[in-house]
């Protein structure tokens, strides 16, 4: 966003200026209120799902800028402290050479140093702390913590320099063969962070402040550090602070504390899945997607709705409506017109499928266009929404005449949308085939090949369903049945790789049995376009046997849909 004229350029949030974050972030239909709350929150989602930008939006720097822009007085009721865990201190491994207890102490010391550094850096951003309050803080720090701050540089800067010195000392010691690795004056959360927070809150300007520790990329912490963080989270409902922790999605996320206890979702923290399960127009994500696109367009001087900017191909729209009409007429002819809900449900299930079934007999491919299509193709991940938009805009920009401004682009014609979407789908398949083992840590070449075959066969199966399934043709989500420990050991690592590569997303939804929750899987809908499937999908899940999925990973197609299968298949409406 910083140098490009393309409004859909996507940069990692860490590279964005606070002003840009303010410009592009949409807090409505997002999880902003959770992050601003006093509860502990765990944000789960893969890259591109919006975790970092959500945290950064609540950081003090951004909030302060926002109030300045609005001409409002600064409000310190909540102060966001952004803490990125992917930093050089977290990559250090010298603690592994120590006995377990010392190793854990040193690990925690690194984490606490990082937290303190960003806490103090955040305080430096706050300009409204009086000199008198700063001196009070200085006195208490000296007395309570024993910190010997440098003189004549200001209290807050002095604190940051003091902490920088501590960071340097522990690293120099770890790298000095003439010294022991273990740092005997290691800090802990209770010995340093807790008292420092209380010291800072003792001054009038921050007495009512609740600090939000916005911990990003917590999956980069080592095992002990994660458990330490979990222990901090177990300080739930602490009036002075709370934790908002962003992690890449891990199916078996470790919620164990240092004492071997467990923090509980709902009790100790609220879990938020950043990958949205529903993408239709009326869903939270559908509305968010429209706002994101419209905000970016407005910023580029293009004042238009997302639907107008990404219009649907009118012929395709007519054909889909005609297919729906045909399906409606057939149902009414067979069952009468009295039950409008049943008619509507029937059209929902079979209308679009009929369109795709009709297409399959024709030579030309389906044209994909329209903002709704883009939203569905994103599979509920913001970056997946912006990526094709970016490439579409680039295509339009490259055909502008000399002197024409990018803001003169008022829509992306449907055929351009279709071409770009197909290209991006093809690219994703190529990346799946060639880049998996280099992109996913720990993925072997053999596993990469298995994952490709699994996904290839899965999508072929979904196409089979779309063209032939008599009851739920557009179902594209699936659950796994008949899992044994044996199949789990083979299958789950492959699904985990697919998830990390973001060609498969996991969701939690209600199961039919006793209202329990179950995990189900949704392929990245961008994959579907290259194979001529409907990215809009249907709110239904198919049940696939673990053994069949394993066979699919070995190159065997999934069983074709038969009536016999229908009797045994578990299908869920949401």
């Amino acid at each position: 966003m910083e140098a490009s004229t393309n409004p859909f350029v996507y940069d990692t949030a860490n590279n964005l200026e606070p002003s840009t974050i303010l410009d592009v972030y949409i807090k409505d239909n997002n999880y902003h209120r959770f992050i601003e709350s006093k509860r502990n929150v765990v944000l789960e989602g893969e890259r591109g799902s919006g975790k970092t930008i959500s945290l950064l939006y609540s950081s003090q720097k951004v909030k302060q800028l926002q109030r300045e822009r609005l001409g409002e007085k600064q409000d310190y009721s909540t102060v966001g402290v952004y803490v990125p865990c992917n930093n050089p201190l977290m990559h250090k491994r010298e603690h592994e050479l120590l006995p377990a207890v010392q190793s854990d102490i040193l690990s925690e010391h690194y984490l606490v140093l990082v937290l303190l550094h960003y806490f103090v850096s955040t305080l430096e951003v706050i300009k409204d702390i009086s000199e008198e309050s700063l001196l009070e803080i200085e006195e208490e720090i000296k007395y309570v913590l024993g910190w010997d701050l440098p003189k004549n540089v200001g209290v807050l800067k002095g604190m940051r320099l003091f902490l920088s010195r501590l960071q340097r000392l522990v690293q120099e010691q770890a790298n000095d063969f003439n010294q022991e690795i273990f740092y005997r004056r290691a800090l802990s959360f209770s010995s340093s962070v807790l008292p420092l927070v209380e010291i800072v809150k003792s001054v009038p300007e921050l007495r009512e402040t609740h600090f939000l520790f916005l911990i990003d990329d917590a999956h980069d912490l080592n095992t002990h550090q994660r458990r330490v963080l979990n222990s901090w989270i177990s300080f739930r409902e602490h009036p002075s602070f709370s934790f908002k922790v962003a992690v890449a999605k891990v199916i078996d996320n470790d919620y164990v504390t240092v004492n071997g206890g467990t923090i509980l979702e709902g009790h100790d923290f609220t879990a938020i899945n950043m990958e949205r399960p529903f993408q239709d127009e009326q869903s939270e994500f559908g509305k968010l997607a429209a706002e994101i696109v419209e905000r970016r367009l407005e910023r580029a001087g293009i004042k238009i709705t997302a639907k107008q900017f990404f219009p649907e191909n009118e012929d395709v729209k007519r054909e889909i409506e005609a297919a729906k009409d045909a399906v409606r007429a057939e149902y009414i002819a067979a069952h009468g017109a009295s039950n409008t809900k049943k008619i509507s449900d029937h059209v929902y299930k079979y209308g679009r499928a009929r369109f795709f079934q009709n297409r399959s007999s024709k030579a030309n491919h389906v044209q994909y266009s329209g903002f709704d299509t883009l939203t569905h193709v994103s599979t509920g991940v913001v970056r997946n929404l912006l990526d094709p938009c970016y490439w579409m805009f680039e295509r339009m920009q490259s055909s502008l005449k000399e002197g024409e401004s990018p803001s003169s682009i008022t829509c992306i014609p449907p055929h351009i949308q279709d071409e770009v979407l197909r290209q991006r789908s093809e690219t994703l398949w190529e990346r799946l085939q060639h880049d998996l083992s280099r992109s996913v840590l720990g993925c072997t070449e053999e596993q990469a090949h298995q994952v490709y075959q699994l996904v290839d066969n899965l999508v072929a199966h979904l196409r089979d369903r779309l063209l032939n399934h008599p009851t739920e043709p557009r179902a594209i989500a699936f659950t796994i049945s008949a899992q044994t420990e044996e199949t789990r050991q083979v299958l789950m690592p492959l699904l985990d790789i697919a998830r990390k590569f973001q060609i498969l997303y996991t969701r939690r939804g209600s199961a039919k049995d006793e209202g329990k929750k179950e995990t189900y899987y949704v392929p990245n809908r961008m994959l579907l376009l290259d194979r001529g499937l409907d990215p809009v999908g249907q709110h239904a899940r198919v049940s696939l046997k673990a053994s069949d999925l394993i066979a699919a990973s070995e190159g065997k197609p999934l069983p074709s849909v038969t009536k016999q299968d229908l009797l045994q298949e578990k299908l869920f409406d949401e």
């Binding site: 140098a3 990692t12 860490n14 992917n86 930093n87 050089p88 201190l89 990559h91 250090k92 491994r93 010298e94 592994e96 050479l97 990082v114 550094h117 960003y118 850096s121 920088s164 960071q167 340097r168 690293q171 120099e172 770890a174 790298n175 000095d176 063969f177 690795i181 083992s437 280099r438 992109s439 840590l441 720990g442 993925c443 072997t444 070449e445």
Partner: protein
Amino acid sequence: MSEYALGVFFASWEPRFRLGIERDLATCQFLNVVIFYSEEYRDWTTNDRAVVSDYFASAGITYEFVSLDHRSAKDTWDTVRQSINSRGEIAGDAFIDISTMPRDVLWTCLTSLSQQNRKVDYVYHQPDEYGPWLSADPRKPRMLYRHSGVSELDKPLAVLATTGYDFDRTVQLYTTFEPKSLMLAIQIGGQYNNVDMNIRDHLNWATGKRGEGVVTFDVDAYSEDHGLQSLREHLLPIKDTHNIVLAALGPKTSSVAIYKLWREFPQSALSYIPCQKYSRNYSKGIGDTKLGTLE
């Protein structure tokens, strides 16, 4: 004949391990020799270890084979350090054959030998040719123990790496550290299919990431300084403004250059990338020999 108190080798299934020792013994004398080998690939090196065993025995050299569990970074570090340190009383110069030595073992040896105030000569035997693939399934990049530098949280991160035939490893470096700046030193020349296996992939990838802080420059690991001057020139402008991670993914002599660079700038971190799989046909034959001294 050069005389060395201590010789250090790493056993491999590559022919240049055994052929290299033949060359080494033709020009050098050793009092004491330690030959590390990977326990994971023990079976692949059994025959060649037996052969070189005879070489050393015939020459009247005291030698010891030391197994390393290379899947454990701690075990590798402790064992290499202990093996070198236990020979601290054997006064004299050291010789290290780096041809088939993993980078973390190489750097650990260089530091351990330097701490004994020895003059350290190294030799690198090039192969005749490399196999179609060398290694696969890289693990997460790691910083070498006690060579992890001193970083400051307010500074951006730069990664400076020499590139090699395993493009996957370069990508792992980038995705793990997420640096603001990635400087790739790409080996020049057409030797060993370098254009197809190294230059092309890296340049294509870097071109796609040009706006994201990825830059490339040329380096010659086979020159006298193994590219050290070129590496230094790219590090100097950022040494005070960035935290720096160094990695050597290119020809083994570039590992020496990277190590020397680290010694000049010890606030930087040495990083390596273990792999899960190595090719049985890693290389064939033996080519030229490069010699050097760790100043």
